[in-house]
Amino acid sequence: MNIFEFTILIWLGSLGAGLLGALTGLGGGVVIVPFLTLGLGVDIRYAIGASLVSVIATSSGAAAAYVKEGFTNIRMGMFLEMATTMGALVGAALAARVSTAAIAVIFGCVLIYSSYLSSRPQKESRKQKEFPDPLATRLKMDSTYPTREGPAPYHVHAIPLGFSLLFGAGTLSGLLGIGSGAVKVLAMDQAMRIPFKVSTTTSNFMIGVTAAASSGVYLNRGYIDPGLAMPVMLGVLLGSLIGARFLFGARTRVLRIVFGIVILALGVEMIYNGVTGRL
């Protein structure tokens, strides 16, 4: 296989990953790294570098649309970006010190966890009869989000806990080259108790900045290869744009289950290959 064929193959695979990532809401990053490493034998450091830049492309594109719809809580997002960018720098620093086998095992665990999350039903709207949190009030984070009955107010809670969890999400993102949107959403949805749609859109808003923070470190360390990152970025971007078009009205339940099983299998394979020292 020469470089031309190799590039086209990666482009097609990334297109599929971006499409599935957008349709299932899990993002393309989680499958790009296994696709490149397990499928094509690419060194995991190159794979992570290429995946990171594709994460910036998809999240920036999608964030633009969400901000316009008015779901994104920009103040909360900016505040929590302090945590995710610091985490991303820590993760990128760890990536240079931890063995590739260990990275593969951690990646596998995250894949299995994402698969578990995707198998759970997405729930909408909780009761908003809660008292405001003093810290959230002082930081002017409480906001409203659009519903069919007009703007609905909500309160933000547990900012210190959310901040620490997002630091962890940033670290995973910097270490593994993924958006770690699943962890971000979980932290905001469960710990900070904000509406689900606000969690997902604000998470997306933060993913680009988080990935940009670790990309700088990866670039300077020579992990971002132009020949590899080019088809990955262009493929994932186009795939996610097509995916976002079809998202409305598409029956994504079956797709989520199938994708969840695929991710589970990839996770097991990543761990197996990491433990046996093949990655």
Partner: protein, 129 residues
Amino acid sequence: MSFLKGDWTEEGLDEKLGILLRTGVLISAVVVLGGGILYLIHAGSGLPHYRVFRGEPADLRSVPGILKDACSLRPAGLIQLGLLLLIATPVTRVAFSVLAFALKRDQTYVVVTLIVFALLVYSLVGGGL
């Protein structure tokens, strides 16, 4: 420039942020695609080498090196320039937010966004932990 004029209310600001993000991604995708086509014409018949990790050469690792390579239209340099523009997109968005919060005289968030901006610049100029 009409982009900087006019509506600095919350909604107007969101609109500008959206335009900024979309434009950044679009420009970088075009540059990456252009560099990619040149790269395939030049190196398409060679063999891929990603099984063994060697790291990129020094000129493709730093901002000045990438700019120099891109100016002499080297394919790899052009792709890296596109990727650099992509990384710069969220960074510009944060810089824009600093300005927006400053115009709203929201000092807390000027400090918050400045911290995020500083961390991003620190990472881009080659600072690691």
